[in-house]
Symmetry: C2
Subunit: 355 residues, 2 copies
Amino acid sequence: MERQDLIFTNHVAETIDRLVVAMNPSKLFVLVDVNTASFVLPRLQAMSKTVADAEVITVKAGDVNKDLEALASIWRQLGDRGGTRHALIINVGGGVVTDMGAFAAATFKRGIRCLNIPTTLLGAVDASVGGKTGINFNGYKNEVGAFSEADAVIISTTFFNTLPQQELLSGYAEMLKHGLIADKRIYRDLLAYRIAQSDPDHLLRLLEESVKVKNDIVSQDPTEHGIRRALNLGHTIGHAFESLAMKRKSPIPHGYAVAWGLVVELILSHMQLGFPSDELQRFAAYVYDNYGAFEIDCSDYDELLRFMGHDKKNVRAGEINFTLLKDVGDVKIDCTADSEQIKAALDIYRDLMHL
Amino acid sequence: MERQDLIFTNHVAETIDRLVVAMNPSKLFVLVDVNTASFVLPRLQAMSKTVADAEVITVKAGDVNKDLEALASIWRQLGDRGGTRHALIINVGGGVVTDMGAFAAATFKRGIRCLNIPTTLLGAVDASVGGKTGINFNGYKNEVGAFSEADAVIISTTFFNTLPQQELLSGYAEMLKHGLIADKRIYRDLLAYRIAQSDPDHLLRLLEESVKVKNDIVSQDPTEHGIRRALNLGHTIGHAFESLAMKRKSPIPHGYAVAWGLVVELILSHMQLGFPSDELQRFAAYVYDNYGAFEIDCSDYDELLRFMGHDKKNVRAGEINFTLLKDVGDVKIDCTADSEQIKAALDIYRDLMHL
């Protein structure tokens, strides 16, 4: 896997034109979903002659449509509309478009080039970087895919002004996670930024730092056998919260689940590794102020533990596997906790979240 | 792409058992087609406890079944029957099974490990080595796939005794091609071996030399942008012969088409680069004695030229692209010939083949 170019810019059209000229594809495709087809593509077509002249492939929006049927439709359109092995595809959208488009590119004629342009904060910070591509299949998320990096990722905040606040907060939770993993300066800058007072250039700088944290970790461990598991911070509990919310038939955004999951896993970090109490309290207050609380009581604990056990990645000899922190910037992968410790942490979460 | 292990042995079961113990998979799958399910799998199950205990996945035989439906069925069975990202799949069969099984392995849960055990001579010498995996799709051969090497390829001649003579000759043509590309000693040894007097251990040694020729070239150029095109020797004309035979509704085996294609391309090599006349005559006689002749007359020439032009890989500015030889072992990629030169070479082919 070659390391991809990450380009942080709020001059997207010029950047696309420059890259496409340099890459000189035999044919250019742009992949969008029905949302980016309405809100983003017309702006790009107006600003970039390259995009205006490209073949557009449109897929349905939403994770339920990140499936084999959509993938086969992309492959078919690439072939029917003149794609050769020297073609280029630009994926413009959230994680669904970039995951599926980059997988189509990795496999059409055994691999063509692609660029990713994430249009959501979560996509920019997370899904479009790291080479994880794929589709949902047979009832499982990302059951089929490849580790394959885009040739370049163009990261911009200019598309975020049409996003709902909830979408921005959801992406921001992953940035907070990267700050916690990385170091205190980055982390403090993130806590100081007010999401509501949208400032695209300031957000772009924070995003650049955050994505670089992830990219440094991924390039050390592209196939996720070691340090890349640092990026699971907050996700063991977060996924269990998501599953519980799904079962209650009131789903929560992924980033919100991560924010609440981070609170519980920082509590476990405090209990097991002495993560500083004042940092924990400050973080919990930030989450409570911006994300509110995910409501649980002690009758939910056994169900939550079952959900953690279902994710086979987390279980070793009956204990649940976690990534924890000794302090901000000091990560310990392959930690474990038993049910009693997890229940104690959930008790403290409820205190900190005023439940 | 990591370089894979190539293991040449006529002790297949012991080799499988040793590799599987060392790889320690969470679950073992064996992929076969209906032919290898009947003729090869029972022998392996009787000799190897590892194989006897594995989950067997069976697909239909034949290139027309190397399709998305079969691939999806493999993915589904891997998931439903307990495959995790630490599973291992052993592909036992010809090119259809190894191409499709290795692609399924490259993409199931973003990549699990696999071993290839080619059971045809053509598969051993060609399709199971080089990392080209994939399926036919949307009417095109290998439209979807990946460059992904198996963790190991176990190459043996013990399965070939159930193959028809025609199948052996078909694979042997690719070995002859490798001899022509590589050097005179290897090439002479190949011409000296009598395919009819089947000697498995002698054939295994010749096969080992031949596969190493291919593997050396592929590892210099895994994504086929340069010297790997040396392996196209004989194939530009060979593919045109295959297409013409298909149109006549009497298809010919791929290796036979390559043998005849090699004769024509050595004639072009003689015309353009001075390839030695005595070598050309000896090779043409060997092909005629073992493969007979593909019958053409001058009314077929324009059709053959059209077929060469249809394969976009071969066409540059109106001329057809060839790999040619200055002498045995002295390859020139990116040669071209115009229609008049090709027609003159086809005239000489008809003389040499007594047509």
